[in-house]
Point group: D2
Chain length 383, copies 4
């Protein structure tokens, strides 16, 4: 046991994602015992020296830096984990890969398909392990959904409908944060929330053939963060809606919004197939609802509590049945998967999302924006 391999990790970013990923790296050995390797928290990067120093202490990194290139080149580091804002995805990831580091990058992979394609190309060329951190694939209930579909339990798929709803900017006095500026974020609800459900659509149903979308910016100006007495322009979508055509003939609807009052982190989807249907909602992430055609008198939507350690994916690591896990465990599962693939030299896909997946998701996002602008159906072309 004492001979467990250690793998050095550099974390880029100390805020929301920095906390979630750091926590996950730390928890892997406790839950997945014996772990494929022990993550060694080597260094953390952040813009503010004071805050990154505190983050290093809090999360347990040995070093910290305000120069991301330093973190990326650190010789003790094998994995670079990028949790920075979207405009800081491409360059650090590419430089890390060029240094031969394995890479985890938060979603959306980049601000648009062009940037994402650059990253995908470097990943392909360097051959490092590169994962786009679509963590909701690693919700046990979602992984069970995937398995059920793969096993043909639902039969031919007819419908996919997903919406990812939040309400944190309904108040017009909420400030113009980076997520509301196109140069930083690339897009709004679409890239932030929509990318998750586009990835789930591809993960669960298959490749997207065409889209038709509409976007809205309901509140067009907001107070500046630096000086609330001044206002600046919101340059991303507050919400979008789209119809979806899959290559396999299924159709779907997609919707994401930051103006859906009453929904906090409501990422839900439903899939209808010829033999059955499934439904999921992230606010009750331990549950999968399923309907299977069978004995007619007792057919019904069943709530599967996805906490059975001997049969449900990724749950064995945790607690006895009925003892639910939380949102943060999606990261523990995801980074565990990455670590295992790295140590055992196995592909990230099909269960983890690659940079190819991240790129394809970006193409769908771009097509939705273009379709909304032009008022017409866009076929997706992957390059």
């Amino acid at each position: 046991m004492s001979s467990l391999r250690e793998v050095g990790v550099a974390m880029l970013g100390y805020a929301f994602m920095g906390k979630a990923h750091s926590h996950a790296w730390r928890d892997i050995p406790l839950f997945f015992w014996p772990p494929p390797a022990i993550p060694r928290l080597v260094t953390i990067y952040g813009r503010s020296g004071e805050r990154v120093r505190e983050a290093a202490l809090r999360y347990g990194y040995r070093r910290y830096t305000t120069d991301w290139r330093q973190a990326v080149k650190d010789p003790e580091v094998e994995i670079v984990d990028n949790g920075l804002p979207n405009n800081m995805h491409r360059d650090p990831c590419i430089e890390a890969m060029e240094e031969g580091k394995h890479i985890v990058c938060e979603k959306p992979l980049a601000r648009n398909a062009s940037e994402a394609m650059d990253m995908r190309d470097v990943a392909r060329r360097t051959g490092v392990k590169a994962m786009c951190a679509f963590n909701y694939r690693f919700v046990p209930a979602v992984m069970l959904a995937r398995r059920l579909i793969e096993d043909g339990v639902l039969g031919r798929i007819y419908h996919f409908r997903a919406h990812y709803l939040q309400d944190w900017i309904v108040d017009p006095s909420f400030p113009l944060v980076w997520r509301l500026r196109v140069e930083d974020a690339g897009s709004g609800a679409l890239g932030d929330l929509g990318s998750h459900i586009i990835d789930l659509a591809r993960f669960l149903v298959g490749e997207v053939k065409a889209v038709n979308g509409v976007t809205r910016t309901f509140i067009e100006e907001r107070p500046l963060e630096s000086d609330p007495s001044k206002r600046g322009r919101v340059t991303v979508d507050d919400a979008f809606a789209a119809t979806l055509e899959f290559e396999n003939g299924a159709i779907g609807t997609l919707e994401a919004s930051r103006f859906a009052t009453g929904h906090k982190n409501y990422n839900c989807f439903e899939i209808n197939g010829e033999k059955g249907s499934i439904e999921f909602n992230l606010e009750r992430l331990n549950e999968l609802r399923m309907y299977i055609v069978g004995e007619k008198a007792t057919e019904g939507w069943r709530e599967i509590l996805v906490t059975e350690s001997d049969v449900h994916p990724f749950i064995r690591a945790y607690w006895p049945s009925g003892h639910i896990i939380g949102w943060e465990h999606t990261f523990v599962n995801e980074l565990y998967h990455f670590l295992r693939c790295l140590v055992e030299d196995k592909p990230i896909e099909p269960y983890g999302a690659t940079f190819e997946d991240g790129y394809r998701c970006a193409e769908v996002c771009d097509a939705i924006i273009e379709s909304a602008r032009m008022g017409r159906r866009m076929e997706i072309v992957y390059r």
Copy 2:
């Protein structure tokens, strides 16, 4: 009391809608006491002489006929209630109105906007009371939703999302019934189910400005009813999905399907506004879910059991609180509303749907079909 006015009713059709409407006419006086008038069940029309004779006995009509013109012209009749298939909506309704009869017509008002416009024009010219029987407006929970929105409880509306899901033709061996042939039905899931949610969109949120849709026919051939060894072509949509833009700036998604395994009569909608949201589902029609921004620590989606006789619309007629009503009571409420408007000479709108509403709904349906065919956004033009 004994001086209660009687109003003669002719029913066209004895099947599903014939049963639902007949039952409702009979129940009005028992529940809404004293009633505006006593419906007198004069005559019922149907194609099969034997079956219409039995229907007359069962439902309590004094006469029956296999000639709809006879029913429509019957001098004892003041109200003609048309529950026939969609291809039998225009002519009997127009002839009834020309005879000076008041008219109730099942939805969709016609097979397409052109037919519906004809009917609307005659209604306008003759000045009879003419209602398109969008009965789901008369679910107490839906009427409460309307009242809350009118009262500004939700504030500015941002989102509408509705789907009406059924699964009764998932089995490919299900026969080619009239609802699956364009010449009889006009359209498939769109006209049958979609028309309901389009009407609710207009009733609750406002006029539709543009649509963008996709349709699918998943099973293209089915056994003939007359000879199951032969197959015929399904000429309507099995399902559709569309995005919606409202004149007031809100956006939405619409979807209807007869291939949504596990859903029997799942007509649901959700509306998000700046101050709150509401949600409804016809399979739990006594409930309205509502979220209102307020005291943050105790905000939450609340399940309003819409059975409080002293405060909820149309429920006083029935039972003490918590004693739920069923699907059939939407018809009792709707026809009671019609009868009251007739006797008191008040307009059907805004709570009941007029032929103008029926026509506008048909324009939206047609635009969805056209948009799906052309792959582009269609603006709605009302004539």
Copy 3:
């Protein structure tokens, strides 16, 4: 068809139960076609001449009377349906049976086991059809529950837990109505609500062996109906709770209250067996929740929408699947069952409740009161 037998009905009482039963008698032929017989609404009894005259007109009775003996002896009457307050159950029922009339009596059968035993004895001696109107047996979901248990789907039963919760007298200014006086009602929440769940316990699980209860009267004095400036003593229980031991070894809990804020007509039960469990709630009476031990990865509580006309009990009479029925239909089903048993001369039991069932339920109620008074477990002795 024109040769359908007619059966004359006399209704005792025009209020809540008078309305519910009258409506049901009228609806039987429309829904259950062809009906076993056509109920002929002959006469209705009530204390107030003016109100009973109006009720006769509203519900469709040919005659009315303020002398119950006249109704009970009416030669055109074959069925006497007693919907009067509990203190008016024994004498009219006994006199009707002595006249050879068949009898339906609202629950609880009487104010106590002694009265109920008298009624049971006369029913036994005269051999008329005698049903205690425990209408919740006739909820399709409850009837399905019974069938599942009979078929062994749940295996050996371990647990029964039921509560029937309302909140209509939480306000201390609510007046001292008849239901709050022991001389009229016999008991409070126990007889009114508890009797329903005791009957369901016996119907679904089996005979009760022993009970242990506690009762409470939270508000001890209330304004008089006749003069709200004066107050009178509440002489029944506002709520009770009890543990239950069944003869088959299962244990259970029972609870009923009129002080359960937020519950309007919340009659729910859950049954746990070795192979599965079921759960029901009257406010969602079209649904039965069921859990069956099976394939572990996809086990879950399923919501069965009990509206499938070809497989679910008593639902064929109504609408296509997913079109829910309401509370009132329990009466249509129940009285249809009674009418069919009468015409076909079959026993009311085991699906309908007999006067023996009504009597046994009263013994359990009396034992709960006695146990609460004495602070000890009471074994039930049926005589």
Copy 4:
């Protein structure tokens, strides 16, 4: 920051509770930053040398031992955390307290009230911080419930009803583990599960005055763990049910079972008060359902998602709203509370459970057993 105090912890037990507590001690600083102190994982005790060595490595303890006395006396240790089986609660806790160590002990505090009283007495005499680890008090939704009741939001309380249901021993071939033997566990479902809901009853509603219970052992013999071909006697209850009388006049029902098929960790309670009601279920631990009397047209049971970091208790430490936490976080919250009380020298109560609370809970458990044995109501006497 580097001057943060460290507090040494000794863990007794490495199994289920050892894992949950160790994880929590590790996570405190990451979530509750800055922490009151940094828990230093000094040593862990377990019976099996090999397994305790691995546990030390996995959880991060510096030392391990197979002699609990060594752990308890370790001079680097300030806190002893006892997660051993119930028969190993009294002696190690007492010895730790005599050594001046602060103490956390898993629930139930002991096998019976007599043992628990011994522990309570030593805690009182030594004055160390002593917490009985009723972790469900530290579910944010439960803490919110407590706050709402304290603030009078529900008004006078009428009803408490709780059941804690599991199904892990329904299979008769499940072996005779320590939890099924009276000498190890003290009692069965009662002490294991019932103690949680008794503690919640006391925490939320108030002191218990009297109980009336029934217990059952459905499967009386089971295979031995050591030799499955032999069978041994189950000497604890598989399930119990009880009625409850509170000192404040409220009544309640309690039930716990390991035979409630379909329930995995279903710890639920409902409380009805004059102004409102609340409901909770551990399988959806991020939600609290609440009904408040208000505007009648829009009253309803609301689902409060208890994840608002600025208003909900103990949730600020985690994630943005809607990002749910899991079962394990109850321990993080609880041990954080303990650590803070220790460092700031504040009392554990009223939010944490003391050894007095643990003792009182044991008295209620003992009274339920006695009441079931004697068939009569038992008043609780606290000594």
